[in-house]
Amino acid sequence: MKRFRLVTLTMLLALPLSPAWAADGLNSGDTAWMIVSTALVMMMTPAGLALFYGGMSRYKNLLNTLAMTFVAYCLTSVIWVLWGYSLAFGPDVGGIIGGLNFFFLSGITPASLEGTIPTNVFALFQMTFACITVALVLGSIVDRMKFSSWIVFTVLWVTFIYTPVAHWVWGKGWMATMGALDFAGGTVVHINAGVAGLVLCRVLGKRVGYGKEAMFPSSIALTALGAALLWFGWFGFNAGSALAADGLAGSAFLVTNTSAAAAALAWMFTEWIVTKKPTVLGIASGVVAGLVAITPAAGFVGVGASIVIGLAAGCLGFFSVSRLKHKLGYDDSLDAFGVHGMCGTLGALATGIFADPAVNANGTGLLFGNPGQLWIQLVSILATAAFSAIGTLVLVYVTQALTGGLRVGEENEIMGLDGTVHGERAFDLE
């Protein structure tokens, strides 16, 4: 009996030395959570976004929209492990970009750590962000882009536009040094993609019949399902950006849901008042608007701020989509700019206002005595928008040259891309 007690005591004393308890070193709680988070964010692209966008596309192009989303995920997955991760998170070169030291993830082993989680997990988590960012861009240009052009554009855009901005904000680049607050990607993901979408849709031009023909979503049921999957996955997107299974992740989790719900209600009630009909498409769009807006703020603001942010995003999203687009006359087909660009900007500014040091000691906003943060946020927004706009424009022309034109022929556009590009029908109903 005495021997048993001695052995137990020794084992208990040794416990703090084991990996699960080590202060620096692998934390299995964090790792488990981050693996799950990565899977959640992965789902957002081929499932959430694909259905959200696919359902909003006209029937004859539903599959093409799905295909562009799927292929964007797959291409980015490969590029990322080749040079994408290295360019975004490699050793800093002048605050602008990472080096190519991690090309093909060289030097990274299963035992390598990034903080308390394996580097492989960290790299894959970041990859899922790159995947969805480029996929968001296609929302502006459904129904009319050549599939080959989309593939080339995706490879170029992830390499030359996504990785630099990711590096500036998260890879110890100049925006991080400047003190810009972006918890999960208001600038890197939403403003970046929204502006790129706007540029691409302006160069591609409007769809045949836009402004004259009725263009209705093929399946709002799929879009609603897609929005719900995005919401579910977004918990990984925002709470996972804490990179740990801790209180900050819990806080981000809370405000993410609150903002999404508030925004959905705001969009719904606004639409109800203005058009007399609360549409399901509006509710689904409101959800996404709220999620976009809370993204940069998720790890910095409290629940009160998240309600305000959500309500504002729902209203702003509704008016961007129904008024701004109509007034300015551009064919941002699925409102990538209207929702992601505009609400991402709202969120980034809101972070500068509502960042509460009691939530996260790294972020203090205007309302807590730091008006300078708002200015920093504005600079990061403008820099991201300018870089994305100019860079995307250049890449669009490069793509055009490499693939002999961006747009499908008019006859194919009218017949629909599912049949003419893929030779398939989305549903074969009797």
Binding site: G211, K212, A214, M215, S322, H326
Partner: protein
């Protein structure tokens, strides 16, 4: 003498018209979903920030073949039951039929209807 009556009506009126025709003993009809416009066309709407023009409006086309003597009664019955008083109520056409044949028995003329 056989006549064919083609009626273009509003889709939600189909049941009313069918009931009314059954009441006067019309035993069969063919129905198809069509699109069309007359004076109801050409107004603009906006959906999610994009304008579009409403041209073709869904309608139902009914086709019935009857003896020439019944045409007036059938046309009146259709008109009464399809009426709403608003633009887009539809139109009725009467055409001459050369011949009618029942597939199962080979009967022709009025016996085929």
């Amino acid at each position: 003498m056989l006549k064919k009556i083609e009626a273009i009506i509003k889709p939600f009126k189909l049941d009313d018209v069918k009931e009314a025709l059954n009441e006067i003993g019309i035993q069969g009809m063919t129905v198809s979903e069509v699109k069309g416009y007359g004076r109801q066309k050409g107004h603009k709407e906006v959906y999610r920030g994009a304008e579009y023009v409403v041209d073709f409006i869904p309608k139902i086309k009914l086709e019935i073949v009857v003896d020439a003597g019944r045409v007036e009664q059938v046309v009146t019955k259709i008109r009464e039951s399809a009426y709403t008083g608003k633009i887009g109520d539809g139109k009725i056409f009467v055409l001459a039929v050369e011949q009618a044949v029942r597939v199962r028995t080979g009967e022709t003329g009025i016996d085929a209807v």
